[in-house]
Symmetry: none
Subunit: 412 residues, 2 copies
């Protein structure tokens, strides 16, 4: 039996409609550190509930991770609740408040007096610096239990956990057992189809590796994890990868943190090709995804958001006849947009998206979800016509994924 870890999330917003993603992010990392993430508990901003939940969790588990409730406001009660759970006091730390002040000074902001609350430290706790926000974390070891207090926002919590908590947990609980995991990323296949193709592999690996299949808006990911000796872990992932490639090679586009846009970027860079985008219904979403990758200026020249027909003509050179004869949502228009942006932006590759994202604008011939995607590459052009289901946001996201997926195939 591995030692238990429990996660405690704090905030009435998490019991009022906000999705809590902390467990999904933290639990696999706790497993990697040799712990069994056995329970996740969310409580609202109530001192008593939080104090009781901390006490209960510490009664069952060796490690308790508390996320949230470290802000400057009246309803941020984690410091007080954890102290109360263990009968400890809190002390105000002037040096810690000065650190908080420095952060405000860097952005030329006055320090609200409320932020003094963040300078109270539980007796015996180690302060964890927070380079991404004003809330310092705290790390407490008491009665052989490890309790970490981390900020609620993901962008503050995640780096603090990775830098200050995970290494400690690995050292204490990781032992000789190695654990390795890899995410395999697929495109152009449905979850059900991927599942069918993968089932024999999943059965043959039962007891040797763990798997989770996740899917969303045109992409599928398989999370695989193996545990054992250092050698067993290495051969285990290689064996799994080999089996996956046998059945899904043409759909496998990347691993771990790869995204469609990062892999497209790698291929463009390797070919020394540049890209330009012409978007209608996605309104800039494709450009935003491409430029989410740092360094994308190496290959992305820019694009045109042509939300009206006049702009399709004036900024992209789409011929009036195409718009009149085939309409703005047509393979013909998509092709002209891709060719137009490629030429006008002096790029090697032009890609375009034009469609009906809904909820309005659909007709019997051209229903909501109809999306035409165009590609202009050196020496060739092609288009795809797609019928996406789902509401506006999903149609737009699926359109971008389909454009990036087809581009990836074209750049192979």
């Amino acid at each position: 039996m591995k030692p238990r870890a429990e996660l405690l999330c704090v905030g009435t917003e998490l019991l009022s409609g906000k999705v809590n993603t902390h467990a999904a992010w933290l639990c696999p990392k706790l497993r990697l550190a040799g712990l069994e993430p056995a329970r996740e508990v969310t409580v609202g901003d109530s001192l008593e509930d939080l104090r009781d939940a901390v006490r209960e969790a510490a009664g069952r588990a060796s490690v308790v991770i508390v996320c949230g409730g470290l802000g400057p406001t009246f309803d941020d009660l984690t410091r007080e609740a954890v102290a109360a759970a263990f009968g400890l006091g809190l002390s105000y730390s002037e040096p810690l408040f000065e650190l908080i002040c420095k952060r405000f000074a860097r952005y030329k902001l006055a320090v609200p007096s409320a932020n003094k609350r963040q300078a109270w430290v539980i007796d015996g706790a180690k302060v964890l610096p927070n380079p991404n926000g004003s809330a310092p974390g705290q790390l407490l070891e008491i009665h052989g239990k490890h309790v970490a207090l981390l900020p609620g926002p993901y962008r503050e919590m995640a780096p603090m956990f990775l830098e200050h908590v995970l290494p400690l947990l690995r050292e204490k609980f990781g032992g000789g057992l190695q654990r390795a995991s890899r995410v395999f990323r697929f495109y152009g296949i449905s979850e059900a189809a991927a599942d069918m193709k993968l089932t024999p592999m999943l059965k043959s690996e039962a007891g040797k590796a763990d798997f989770t299949i996740l899917a969303g808006s045109g992409q599928v990911e398989l999370h695989a994890a193996v545990a054992g000796s250092s050698a067993a872990v290495k051969t285990g992932l290689t064996r799994v990868e080999g089996k996956i490639k046998k059945v899904l090679d043409k759909h496998l586009y990347g691993f771990d943190g790869d995204t469609l846009e990062s892999v497209v970027g790698d291929r463009l860079r390797r070919k020394k090709w540049t890209l330009a985008a012409a978007e209608s219904c996605t309104g800039g979403l494709l450009g935003a995804r491409i430029t989410a990758i740092a360094g994308s200026s190496d290959y992305f020249r820019g694009g045109v958001v042509a939300y009206s027909n006049e702009i399709k003509k004036s900024a992209l050179g789409v011929p009036d006849e195409i718009l009149k004869k085939h309409g703005a949502v047509s393979a013909e228009c998509a092709r002209a947009m891709a060719v137009g942006v490629r030429e006008r932006f002096g790029a090697d590759v032009g890609v375009s998206i034009t469609g009906i994202a809904g909820p309005g604008g659909g007709s019997k011939e051209k229903p909501v979800g109809l999306v035409c995607i165009g590609f202009a590459l050196p020496g060739k052009t092609f288009t795809t016509t797609n019928h996406f289901s789902g509401e506006r946001a999903l149609v737009r996201e699926r359109s971008v994924n389909a454009a990036l997926g087809a581009l990836l195939t074209a750049l192979r």
Copy 2:
């Protein structure tokens, strides 16, 4: 004090990387039924953990909703665990198994023998039919507590809850008590500063209304809820709104589902003005946000993603001297981009963003996070220069929020 409800989610997958959305969906509905969703607990597929968690939850709460663990396989243990928690027995129901068989017959499938597990009913429980899957639900009333066992998959759980559980809870706990909530949305103010301004109001409303303050990338939201008679609820929200407007009127931009982009859209539509966007570091994100609103084609003409200096010159007409003298990230360039896109796209308003999103590309004079935003309106132009903290994605999101926020003010 409203009666407590607790949510119990079951499944090792929820402690292995799968995001749990049950609380986000169920909690607001429990609130509407007159209950206080006070705690959410997730446990893995362990009989002991689950049994203990059910017992603890029933000890604190009047209503316990258990989601998951009703499937046919060996690790589906919710039926056994709930029975054990209350010292109840389980009986096999032949009529229930026949119902399950009928479902398989409809899809011309053989019934796996494992599905017999799903025909075991806790003594005294009412069976809840599941038109969307093989797992029947169960509803138990014991020692004055209501315990609902629902399937894990959302598409099975949600209809069963809405049809068979929510009406019962409303009847038992909703009483004559009405409940209303409103989200107040602010921009251009930090969470701590908003908190300081709101504190007197929060104190004066203690016991009459509940509040939660949330913040992210340049926006703050206050969730307010009041309960009581129909009249008290109505006057309560009006009273709260009045107090908020006294201290934060110029920062209040909307309510409930409003977004910066929807409110900007409303104002443009009212003025019968059109908009065009010129983006550099945000790569299309501003256009994507604006066009996330259905019907935005009424006022959004489109834009240019000018990711390279040549495109800033060729597609937006930014003078070479500005790029040479001030650089692409400068108030001068931002102004020229806004003026350029306004003219070339024939729009009433042009908005531009140019900055250094990082992690690379920064210098001592122009550090990562420096973002210049330009505006060209009928008869005036202006720019803002911002220093945003955070990693690439956050700098980009904050840039878009700052652009929309300043635009909102300019359109007042």
